[in-house]
Structure formats: structure tokens, C-alpha cells
Symmetry: none
Subunit: 454 residues, 2 copies
């Protein structure tokens, strides 16, 4: 291991330059005009896997974006870990808020700024580099490794799910390792054992068949924007609790042990409020911020649109108004059931004066992984060695939908060993990734291979 970590330390600059090359590829999965960049990113990953020493690498075409698969099975009798990551990134809008172009990576103050830096190109690249370090020093890996890198994580992983269903034999393993989550705090090794799920919905209200003059018709018809606002308002009660019937059925209560663990983390509401630029935090009454973020479901409008939104005044009553509304779910809420309850409730809230259409855009299951498994213990130890500190145990408010598929189809536990920070602007302008955590992540990954092989 000494040689491996020395190799990593000596090749820092090279690794960062390579990551820059990766980040220059504009692999936005949701935009059709970026299809070529998506292919370029897949080829980049495949090439780097081969260069690192992974003997067998394939790019599998799908109905959507390609899946890169690689394996090295030269350690018979040893466990097999499947490393998952994604090479696709979020759109860059609003582009005018970036201080530097999103696909022109910039290293500044020990961070690398670019779309995808922390989510997830930077994090997935750590594992390719730890494997390279083994091959370049020891000439082999201490266990069997499979890589599964997709290009549709930001748009729902639909084709990956199909691929896993069709290839359970190929993907057979003892555990899945993912770095797409966050450290509790800079420099603190963190194992994530819970993820929230999601139901992402779209609501479309139609009032009059065309935009109307607000003078001639104001007072005669229901205004779809006002109606939509009213309906959205009714989705929470005054305590911030979601009012959808049966919504909280099946929500697993936070255990006493968890509550104590959360308290030990000494989370500061004031600090977070300052970081986010708000006067005060806000959420469901009766729960601490960490409880609300990790173990309680939420409902947020992700977008709203209706009527005239240009400069100045246009006096219309719009024909339509729409909103995107998503719910973050916790174990054991079923996103499909929640989507149905939401739809039913929205239709009930809509007055007869408007027509309403509800669409289900996306669903993800919540996850809770055991902490006493071999892989989880190995990850915890690996990070402690890399960081020189005790690992903390947290949940994450976000979703990684594919984790449920791994659990259900491959029937193995997933270890979430993320190196991001929630202050790194993932999905926002000026996304970045700490280069210190990037290197510590490579070392942690290398230690994991070692620990898990023992």
C-alpha cells in the first residue's frame, strides 16, 4: 500500500490534468444536441479504464446513452466489487451565473470548477485512478473489480435499469461501491447509509381557451395562476407537514440511536443558513434540520410558469399555468404509490373552473443500507486510513435511483463512499470539487480494495 499511495501522491498533477480533459466534454444527458459529447465521454471513460489496466472494456449501446462496462477478474477466490458512476452531467442554465465557462475547467483555491466536477465525473474518476495506481505498482489488484459507468443518471437511468435486468450474470458481484455522495464536512470521512427516494410530478392547469384581456375579463373567470398558487399552498399545512392523504403511511420512524448519532454530529443551523444566504432555515416542525434532510419526506416546487414573464406589464389572464413539483421520500415510502396519491389529491384540489392534467415524470425508491456488512466496514476503515480520522455515518437527502435496482436485482449491498461537499454547487452554477478530497478519494478507493480483499 505504501507504494500505491506514493504513486497517487506523485501523480496528482497528471490526474488533475486528465480530469480536466474529462470535464471539457459537454456530456449533458438531457439535451439531444449534446449526443455527440455523450459518446465522446463514454469513449473517454473506456479509454481511461483500459489505460489503467482493466483488461476487458466494452461500450454497450442502449436506446439512450451508452453504458461503459469494464472488468478485471484476475483474483479468483477474492470478492468482486462493482464500481458504479456516471459520466453525464446536468444542464448549465442559468449560464449567466457562472463566473467561468462551465466546460472550461479552472483550478482555483484548491478546487476544480466545472459542470460535473463533483457530480460525478470527479468522483468516478477517483476509482479509475486507484486501480491504475495498483497496476502501475503491484501489477495487479487485490480483488476482482467490475466498472459500470452510465450516461443517464441525471435523466433517470432508464436504460441502465434495463441493462442490469438483462445482465445479472455479467454484473454478479459481492457489493457495489459508489462515490456520488457527500462528506459530512470537509476533511471528515463519511459513510452514507441512507438515501431519499423521489416522485417528480408535473401539474398543468388550463382555464380559458386563450389568453384574455385582464380588463375585459378580470372578475369573470378563474385565473389558472391564482388557482395553481392556491393548490400549491394547500399541499402543506401551517406546520410544514405535507397534506396529501396517506402520504406519511410507511414512513420509518427515526430510531433513538439515529437521533443520538445526529446530535453527535453537532450540526449548526446558523452556519448552514449563512452558507445558503438565508435569514433562517425552514422546514417541518418538530424535527431538527438533519432529521428533516435525511429522514423526513419533503415537497418542493422545482419550477413554475404561466402568463407573461417578459419585461414590463402585459395585462392578460393566461390560459395556462404549470408547475413541476417533486417529493423526496424516505424508507419505506413507495414512489409509485405516492405519485398516485399526489395525482388524486391534486385533482381533488382543482376547482371545476379549470382543467387539470398531472404527469409523473420520474420516480426513485428510498434506500437504507446495513452498516454491519463486510463492504461497509471495509469502506469505513479505508477512509479512516486515508483521512487519518474516524468515519462518521450519515444519510443523504438526495436520491440515487439505481441503488434500489442493485439491491433488488444483484441482491448485494451498496456502499456509498462519496467525496463531495454539499457546498460544491452540484446542479448549480459554479459547480466545483475539492482537489484535496479528489486525492483523498483516490487513496480511500485504493484502501477499500485492500481492506475488502482481506
Amino acid at each position: 500500500m505504501q507504494e500505491v499511495t506514493t504513486y497517487i501522491q506523485n501523480n496528482k498533477d497528471k490526474f488533475i490534468e486528465e480530469l480536466k480533459d474529462f470535464l471539457r466534454i459537454q456530456s449533458i444527458s438531457t439535451l439531444p444536441e449534446h449526443k455527440e459529447a455523450i459518446n465522446t465521454a463514454a469513449e473517454f471513460v473506456a479509454r481511461k479504464l483500459k489505460a489503467a489496466g482493466i483488461s476487458r472494456v466494452n461500450i454497450f449501446k442502449t436506446e439512450g446513452h451508452p453504458i461503459v462496462y469494464g472488468e478485471w477478474l484476475g483474483a479468483p477466490g477474492k470478492p468482486t466489487v462493482l464500481i458504479y458512476g456516471h459520466y453525464d452531467v446536468q444542464p448549465v442554465d442559468p449560464i449567466e451565473l457562472w463566473d467561468h465557462p462551465p466546460f472550461d475547467p479552472l483550478v482555483k483555491d484548491g478546487k476544480i470548477f466545472a459542470r460535473g466536477a463533483t457530480d460525478d465525473k470527479g468522483q468516478l474518476y477517483m476509482h479509475i485512478k486507484s486501480v491504475e495506481a495498483y497496476f502501475k505498482t503491484a501489477g495487479s489488484l487485490p480483488l476482482n473489480v467490475k466498472f459500470l459507468i452510465e450516461g443517464e443518471e441525471e435523466i433517470g437511468s432508464e436504460n441502465l435499469e434495463k441493462f442490469i435486468n438483462d445482465n445479472t450474470e455479467l454484473l454478479k458481484c459481492n457489493s457495489v461501491l459508489i462515490s456520488d455522495t457527500e462528506l459530512y464536512e470537509a476533511g471528515v470521512p463519511t459513510l452514507t447509509y441512507g438515501l431519499r427516494g423521489m416522485s417528480y410530478m408535473e401539474v398543468e392547469l388550463t382555464g380559458p381557451s386563450q389568453d384574455l384581456h385582464s380588463g375585459s375579463f378580470g372578475g369573470a373567470v378563474a385565473n389558472p395562476i391564482n388557482v395553481l398558487a392556491d393548490m400549491i399552498s394547500k399541499l402543506h399545512d401551517k406546520n410544514g407537514r405535507i397534506t396529501i392523504p396517506h402520504f406519511y403511511n410507511n414512513v420509518i420512524r427515526i430510531t433513538k440511536r439515529e437521533k443520538e448519532n445526529y446530535k453527535r454530529l453537532k450540526f449548526s443551523d446558523k452556519k448552514l443558513a449563512r452558507e445558503l444566504g438565508v435569514n433562517e432555515l425552514y422546514g417541518e416542525k418538530g424535527f431538527t434540520t438533519l432529521e428533516r434532510l435525511w429522514a423526513r419526506p419533503t415537497l418542493d416546487c422545482n419550477g413554475i410558469f404561466g402568463g407573461f414573464t417578459g419585461k414590463g406589464a402585459k395585462t392578460i389572464i393566461p390560459s395556462m399555468a404549470t408547475a413541476k413539483i417533486s417529493m423526496r421520500l424516505v424508507p419505506n415510502q413507495d414512489p409509485k404509490r405516492i405519485a398516485k396519491e399526489f395525482t388524486k389529491y391534486i385533482k381533488k384540489l382543482a376547482p371545476n373552473s379549470v382543467k387539470v392534467v398531472v404527469r409523473e415524470l420520474h420516480c426513485a425508491y428510498p434506500v437504507l443500507t446495513p452498516l454491519d456488512g463486510k463492504a461497509a466496514i471495509a469502506a469505513s476503515k479505508a477512509m479512516e486510513k486515508a483521512f487519518g480520522k474516524k468515519t462518521v455515518y450519515v444519510r443523504d437527502g438526495g436520491s440515487i435511483p439505481i441503488v434500489t435496482v442493485f439491491t433488488k436485482k444483484l441482491k448485494v449491498p451498496t456502499v456509498l463512499m462519496g467525496m463531495g461537499l454539499n457546498s460544491e454547487n452540484l446542479h448549480s452554477p459554479n459547480e466545483h470539487f475539492s482537489l484535496n478530497h479528489f486525492i483523498l478519494g483516490i487513496i480511500s478507493s485504493a484502501w477499500f480494495l485492500q481492506e475488502y480483499s482481506a
Copy 2:
């Protein structure tokens, strides 16, 4: 008068051809590239006024578009009427929804289709033609006439207001006559005696200093869209009444006589609902639709925007959400006071978890003109003679801001003798004007000059 009306009937086709020439001029006031067309339209009006027999005509330059002024004061001892109209028109977007080019006037099914046909070129031209009919037959007018035709009505009449302030002596008159409103129904002579005013506001909420990942932060911060929806929802109570404190102070109650008058108009809710494509009408409880449209203030969101509004799902909590909210006001609500009350209330409704900015975009005073004045009675009689039917008395839900300036600065009543229909797509694609109402309007105008001179 027999000769005058015969002249009008005999020259119908000529009048329509001239109106077509007027409608061909692309005098869109809001677009700088149409500046030349604006000048052409002003010159067209001046030329036609002179040709009609108005001896003194001037085009006054302003900081914006020119004002055409004309006068014939050859009837000393008789009253003076100031006829107001506007030669500018709305933009034509969305151009693809026009069945025929907006500046290529088309006569079809007894209607003339073109931008500006009903608002206001067709309506203002009626008065030029009635004056012509007098001069060509009787050789003079029965009273003194002043014309004030502007080119900035669709963009706020800013320079006209200045012009009126600076020229009260020049514009001195006994009443103002405007044809820029609508008939209650096709073929029904209509005197409009009330207009609503307006306060048009913009509300901007800021939560976190940037868009956040809804997984990482959902549950920790107030979402500006949800907060805005909640605030908008609170602007009305469950009876559709506006909740802004002191909002209804000064609202003139609907008189018993007005209520009875409204009833006589036999307004059909079902018919309007069908025309607008809604299941049912909606508005403040306790008032009929006509009462709500004409004599009750309203509050409508004209636009709303926040977060991600593209195709598909983006999981953010947006940093900002904005809404344009306008209130139609009735006598004697003061739009400036209402704007202040609105601002105060919005700031009170906004929780400490967001920052709020309120902007006042536009204000217009409501109008209620006396029906027992000499000019109003003359207009009512004139239309009865032209249409051969009893005149009905209505209010209009829209605003004509300049009317208040006439009232305040010239201290005379305004008579609203419009010949449009609310189905004539003013401000929309396929604007048109009934040629029957165009001719009846010329005859009504001629009768007005006669009746008002008596």
C-alpha cells in the same frame, strides 16, 4: 340631418377604402423600427382632417410620437367638443395565428380584418367622416370641434399627458368624446360610463443565494416558489374577496339603479363560459358577473416564473420566484394608494426565510362619468337615432388612463361612445371591426354633433 346621413350612406364604399389605406400603415408604437410608419399615420390623419374641412391642423412633435391636433371654431356661442383617438396600434405577435396579414386589410362577412381595425383606427376615423359629411352638405358644423389624436396610447400616453398639461388653453372644451370602447352587443347602442383603473405590480422573492439541489437541501430551506404560491393564495379569501387591508375603502357601492340596469341587460353566464372555453365562470361571491366585471375590483396574476421550466425534470430548489400581479380598480380607489397597500401587505406576508422586492410597474385611475350631463344625454340620443334602438348603459372592465387626465386638467366630462365588440380580438390575432358598426358610428357621431349643439 337628412342630407348628412344620406351623404354617409352614399359614400360608404369610399369611407371603407380610405379606412383600408389607414390600416395599411404599420403604426406599432412600441417598436422603434416602425417610427416612420408612425409619422406616416400622423400625416394621414392630418391630411384627412384637412380634407374633411377642419381648417387648422397641426402635427405637434413630442419626445415620442407626434400628436395630431385640429380645430374648427366657426360656431361661436355653441359648445366645443374635443374628440380624442389614437392612430397607434398593438404589436402583431403571435403573427402565425393571423389568418390574413395584419396590415393587408381584408373585408369579409361584413367585417374588416386588420391590426387597429377596432382599436382604434376604425373608431377614430368615424368622427373624421361625420365632420366631412357636415361640411360637404351643410357647409359647416353645428358646434365647435377639436381633434386630439395621439400615437402613444398603446404605450401609456406619456407625452400626451405632458401635452395636455402644457396646452390646457388650446384644448379648452365643454366635453371630450372618445370612441375606443365596446357595444354591449352587436347592434345595441351603448354608452360606457365607467372604466376600471389599475395598479400593476411585480413581486420578486429570493430564498437561497443560488439554486440548490432539492435532494441535498429539501427540508432545510423555504422554497421561494412555494412561499410565493402561499402568498398569492393569501391575497384572496375563500369568497374571492381581496384580503389586502383597506383595499375596499373608497369603493363606490353599486347603486340600486345600476343593479337594476345590469339585470335588464340579460347577461348570460353560460354563453360567456362557452365563449371562453371554461366549465364555469368564477369571481367574488355575492356579485353577478357584470357587477364583478364593471363595478368590483379584481386581482389577477398576469405572469409567474421560477425555477426550472424546460422539458423534463430538474431537481432544484430555485433561488428566486417572481410574479406580475395587477389589480383592476373601481371608483374611487386610488391606484397609488392601492400600490402602497399592496406593497405593505406583500412584505407582511413574506416570511423571514425569504427576501422580497415589490415594484410598481403601472398605474391608472378608475373613471365614472355622470350620465346626466349634456354631452352624455346627447350621445345617448344620437345613438338611439342612428341605431333605431334604446341606448344601454354599461361600464367597461378595462382602463383608458388618459380619461383621468382630461377630467383633472380640462375639468370636463368624457363621453365614451365606442362601437367595438369584445369579440373583435383587440390586442390579439385577427383583430377586426364590424363595417355595420363603422357606418352606424359615423351616423352616431353626426347625430352627436347635432344633439350636443342644440
